[in-house]
Amino acid sequence: MRAILKDGIAVFYPQGFLDGNSAKSLLSIEDIKATENLEAEMILVSLKRVIFFNKNGLEIFVKMLSKVRKANQAIVGFCDYDTKKFNSIIKFFEKELLFSLFNSYEAASLFASSFKDENKTVLIYCEDKSQRSIMAIELHNKGHNPIITQTKEEFEEKRKNDKAYDIIIENTHIGSMDGGNISARVTGNAIIYTLSTYLDADVTNNFNISYHNNSLKVGFRLFIFESYNVVSMNIHAVNFFSRLANSAAEYNATICFVGMQYEKTNIKFKETLEDSGIIFFDKLDDILEDKELLAELGASSVGNAKDKRSLNKALVSQLPKFIDATAETIKMMTNAEAKKESASIYTIKIQNTKDKIASSIGFYGDIDGMVVLIFPKNIAKKACELLIGEETNDEELIMDSLAEFVNIIGGKMKSLLADNDINIKITLPRTYSEVSELLKVADNRKGVQVDLTFDDDHFSFFLTR
């Protein structure tokens, strides 16, 4: 069984009856290795579709997940259960509850750094006082508004007014939350990295520099380091961030720090980082809620990349694979056949940008580059129907599903290239609700453009570096 990754949280969905025998079959060593590679910050087993479980069954999952925890410092545990199941788990693991329990996936996502919408009002009840405090601190640190109830009666009374709360948390237990890696998430068109504890020379190992560099290539121009949980920083970390700022400058990208405290960090380090071009803010919202500032910092309008590398033979020779992956995925999702209309090597040219949306996805490894896809809204909507399950005009939902859809295309590219022993990794896709935004990233870049039609809808594919 493979975990499904969304926003940095990997979830397993076993079904039916979970005991010692079935758990061993549900989760193999290969599954664990695949989960390690996902680099998720949280790995959960959903009990939503499990009707029966016993201690042996859960223990096997816990043991297997602990391996990923050791390798990736991910938070591991269970989610999606009712009170009866929660009580059973507590009874089974009374004195050895080292993993986390979240009554729902939504509740779990609040504790993840990759959670997109902050400032949720959360009603909390937990019998254990220290757990109540841990939850409140974690949620507060993540920018939410936790409301703690001290007694079951108070909780029941308050929950009657359920409209007052975005999420209600009960039957939840927080295991260790000290994730070691620097997690990344995308908010709008900014990439937010979450830093925690002590920043020293290890930051070089914990930061995925390839991912960062490829995000620059894909067109991201604003990188925010959330530092609310940073205790202190030493000179090695300062040097690392200075180097990062220098390389970002080559792309006209901006690096910001938010929430940094200086009780245990030398204030002079801040000055050094500011000299490198890093900007400091008190709160994340100071940036995200200020549209003008966002634009100024580069999150909405993107300067052209310095790094306009030319296409090379290795990349162009794989063009058919990229086209096949795109056409086959669209066919898979819409049942529409692709017809190739024209292909040219030059800069990107979009005749009619009306009613079109776009996405770009970067790749790196044996070959590197970026694929830009310009969809008529029709195709994007149709393709996303399979993921959403119904027709929708909800722009946000469509853009969200478009990212998932382009991620599937990326996965297909990866698998088709792997058949030829070419190994690549893919970045998170970036989406553009207006083609004009995309053109700011891709304009003047040389690449191969292939125009296709799907059921008379024009679609453009652009491969560049």
């Binding site: 069984m1 493979r2 499904i4 990754l5 979830v11 969905y13 076993p14 079904q15 039916g16 009856f17 979970l18 005991d19 025998n21 079935s22 061993k24 079959s25 549900l26 939503k48 579709r49 499990v50 009707i51 029966f52 059973s88 086959e328 995925t329 066919k331 898979m332 999702m333 049942n335 129907e385 399979l386 993921l387 399950g389 998932e404 991620n407 599937i408 996965g411 297909k412 698998s415």
Partner: protein
Amino acid sequence: MITKKNIDIYIDKIPPAPQSLKETLDLLTHGELMKAAKVAQSDPALRTYLKNLVNKPVYGFKNEVSEISQIFGILGVAGSQQATYNYLLTLLSPDKWTLFKLNSTIFYELQARLSARYNIILKHLNIIDKDVQSAITLLPAAIIVAEALFNEKIEDVKLLKNTKALDYNTILKRLCKVDLFDISQQIAKKWEMPNKISQIIQVSSGIKPSTDKEINKLGKWIHLLLFHELSQPIFIEAGLNDFIDFQVEFVDDIYEEFLNIMGMEY
């Protein structure tokens, strides 16, 4: 990925039930047990299948039974009809499974387990109806149909399932507006199986409750029984655990009764 046209072609290709099976089932419908056994005896493949089926440990016979007349005698009319329909289903199963890691032995094991445990449930519910008893035989058709439709799209399905927790039934429904259980119903129609069988199997999908109380109740029991079996290591390893979505709420009210019958403790 899969179109309505693919489904129509698939249904068109389903062969009619062989004459000897039709005759056996007709005779069983009229309660002619011994005559039916005689016809069944003349079909070597059916003979071998029935012998293997009833001698599986899950049927619980102490001594090996080998003669068809003996098998039919032990199973009775309803049990013989159920066993014959089970054989009919195997004619639809592929020689080589690729989507699911199955083979004929594992598939027959699934049929045997479902049938034997379903018979225990019917006994518990005090239901004596040969068509109701045969309903369970159509259930694995959904697995066979999923294999037939998705076996050339394994990589695509894998990519899709890595992004979203979608089961085969939902994918098919969203793509073609028909699901695995609708196709199973069409197969039943082609094979002239009693209508009640299709109705129960539609409900057993867990997403199409019936207004008929008895059919709804049976569909629930079958849905829960299916996931009880699909939680066995042999079927998990075959990739069947998540071939359709388990609807926990749908079976919530019969769950404890089910555990009691199956001798399980929470």
